[in-house]
Amino acid sequence: MSAPKLIIKNLSKNYLLSNNKTVTALKNFNLKVFPGEFVSIIGPSGCGKTTLFNIIAGVEEQTLGTISLDGNIENSRRGKFGYMFQDPLLLPWRTIKENLILGLDIKKVSKEIAFKKALSLLKEFNLEKYEDQYPLVLSGGMKQKVSLLRTLLFNDSFLLLDEPFGALDQITRYSLQLWLKQVLKKFKTTTLFITHDIREAKLLSDRIIKL
């Protein structure tokens, strides 16, 4: 078996409240994720799933513990994961292809190369007809597809998907689950996935963890 891609050791997160009391959002959390693996994290609301993702992505700092990526302890993890949310967060003033290259703009990739990559990705998933459309005309499911492709274009080696289909109806949700499977198979992406839906976790995952 290959070495783990991600190792989380004794991760804890406490929040200091305004009355000087502390609240523990995560306590001694441990996890190993192997390359290409799809791991779902399930748990009730408020159990710290999103906090865990925020810490992994470097959006928040942990109180204790370490996170290693590809064998190295990473203290600054921003930009090293593709992080996708329940809200597709598409920019309404940008066309679909312009939305796709947001992460590449931040990485200062030239526009020409960025658009080339975006168009080839849209073509690969039969979405090229939407390249010059604005998000306003897309359905909820389509918006999530574009959001996922944007995340992949930014980082296709490790995805953090925080309930990406949580706001969709059952039929759209099921078709997107199948689509996600197909996309991740192509990219061989390592994925951590948060969901409330045990059936969704079962359908998509190699492993399910309860937080």
């Binding site: 925020n54 992505a57 470097g58 959006v59 921003r78 930009g79 994961f81 992080y83 949310f85 809200d87 967060l89 920019l91 309404p92 003033w93 947001l102 992460g103 703009d105 931040i106 604005y134 306003l136 930014f154």
Partner: protein
Amino acid sequence: MKKYQSSFILIIILLLFWEIYVRAGFINMRILPPPSHIFEALYSHWNSLLPHVLQTLLETIIGFLIATILGFATAILLDISPKINKTIYPLLIISQTVPIIALAPLLLLWFGFGILPKIIIVVLYCFFPIAIAGAGGLSQTKKQFMKLLKSMDASYWQGLSLVRLPSSLPSFFSGLKIAATYSVAGAIVGEFVGAYQGLGVYIQQAANSYSISLVFASIFIIIILSFIILKTVTIVESFYKY
């Protein structure tokens, strides 16, 4: 144009009512001339009015543009750090408690009768709504967007230019529209206090010679100028998709 149809009809009705009311003798025509006399005065005095209109328009446009740049820059400055925000914001609020009309004579003393004090007064009228609306828009960036930007390791300026500034444009344009309606009034206030030319001067001259029709004609032009500036802002806004 269709969406303004009802307003247009209401204006026509009010003008007709005004015309009939005055012509019926309920009020002295010398005190309140009917609209027909006002438009007649506007037409016959247009040549003498035009240089004043252009002067006021010039002061308004320059002042409004400077206020836009300053307001925009201040909004970003307020956003850069909470420390700067806490230092500058109270000063901005205090500055608004000073009636600008009280500053006008001072500006006249310091900068003379030329165009400069009028431009400064327009800037003072327009700057505050632009800066506050812009800063408000920037501070209201969705938390999720901030998270997305952080996760992508975007710098402050990248986040600002790629996401936060464009998403704050609706708020920024609201401020611009409020400022647009103040701008012409600002120039008129400056001209009232002391000027060689401009609609403020013309109104004073007309009032001193009891030409009430010309005072109303000038007010009508002020409304049109304000409307043109407001409409220009709306047209610029329509180029942005958000």
